[in-house]
């Protein structure tokens, strides 16, 4: 059976689909969070060098990955909206930004908490840390710029340009540990393999999946409000069951 994907590129059809999809992402996210935390704290062994402090990575690493990947998703949607003038793409970019910003904040916050016992400092102007901080500012800039322009379509275009230009920062964050001499450690998990204990890997990947599912669920919930707000003058919104109540 062929699925017409373009059908769901319209806010009219995507609104209902998003509503149906939210529980399918939210419920597994809660289960995976609980499982990941259990493995991370009760199954994974204590690290030989870092002691218990390494357990921060089970939230720090997924938050960092999500902060970078969500930025690319946001910039991708923004570019689609700019090039093809599709309404839903711009709405999706707007919906992704706050979640991406929160993951960037969690990444910086948990990194500081790990840095204090390991490096002896909450913060260093290290390449990885500084570029991640710039990522947070780019998210905040996107949100602020979008909010500062009254006309939503003009706001979409202006914010899209910022998102696209800012995406150059993502590879800088990723490769910063290779390009510069930094205190931040490089990737422990590589395509060639890893020396990490299997329970640590299980906890890390479970938490990563949980963060992904959470991000998708919350973005879908947010985009439904954005669709409602932007399409409020249309007939299909007036006919919705939740509006008629």
């Amino acid at each position: 059976m062929a699925i017409n994907w373009f059908k769901y590129a319209a806010p009219t059809t995507f609104y209902g689909l998003a509503g149906k999809l939210i529980p399918w992402f939210a419920v597994p996210a809660v289960i995976l969070f609980a499982t990941g935390l259990y493995i991370g704290f009760f199954v994974a062994p204590t690290d030989a060098q870092q002691g218990e402090f390494y357990r921060i990575m089970f939230i720090h690493v997924p938050a960092s990955i999500l902060s970078m990947f969500l930025y690319l998703v946001m910039a991708g949607y923004a570019a689609l909206g700019l090039v093809f003038n599709t309404r839903l793409s711009a709405m999706m970019a707007t919906a992704v930004a706050p979640t991406g910003a929160l993951f960037a904040f969690i990444s910086l916050w948990t990194g500081a908490l790990w840095g204090k016992p390991m490096w002896g400092a909450w913060w260093l102007w290290d390449a990885r840390l500084t570029s991640e901080l710039i990522l947070l500012f780019l998210y905040l800039g996107f949100i602020a710029l979008h909010a500062s322009i009254d006309d939503p379509r003009r706001a979409d275009r202006a914010a899209a340009l910022l998102a696209i230009v800012g995406s150059v920062n993502v590879p800088i964050i990723y490769f910063s540990v290779k390009w510069w001499n930094t205190l931040h450690q490089g990737s422990t998990i590589k395509f060639s393999g890893t020396t990490m204990h299997v329970a640590m890997q299980q906890a890390l990947f479970t938490m990563l999946a949980a963060c992904w599912l959470y991000a998708i669920a919350v973005v879908l919930a947010r985009v439904r409000s954005i669709i409602l707000e932007r399409e409020r003058n249309t007939a299909w919104i007036a006919e919705l069951a939740e509006v008629k109540q």
Binding site: G51, I106, L113, S225, V243
Partner: protein, 56 residues
């Protein structure tokens, strides 16, 4: 070493839980509450507009 340094080394799991995981879960809870609040407010506005349109 400050008092905080000594405390975090003596209670690493409490430090990790309260500092990282409790904060992250609190942030998620606040985000979910904000998304729900936004939906509630937006629905109210849309209903008001619809009712105002019906009265005209």
């Amino acid at each position: 070493m400050t008092g905080l340094d000594v405390w975090m080394r003596e209670n690493p799991l409490v430090y990790i839980w309260l500092g990282s995981y409790a904060v992250a879960l609190l942030i998620f809870a606040v985000e979910i509450a904000m998304v729900k609040h936004k939906r509630k407010i937006t629905l109210q506005q849309v209903r008001l507009m619809r009712n105002a349109g019906d009265e005209e």
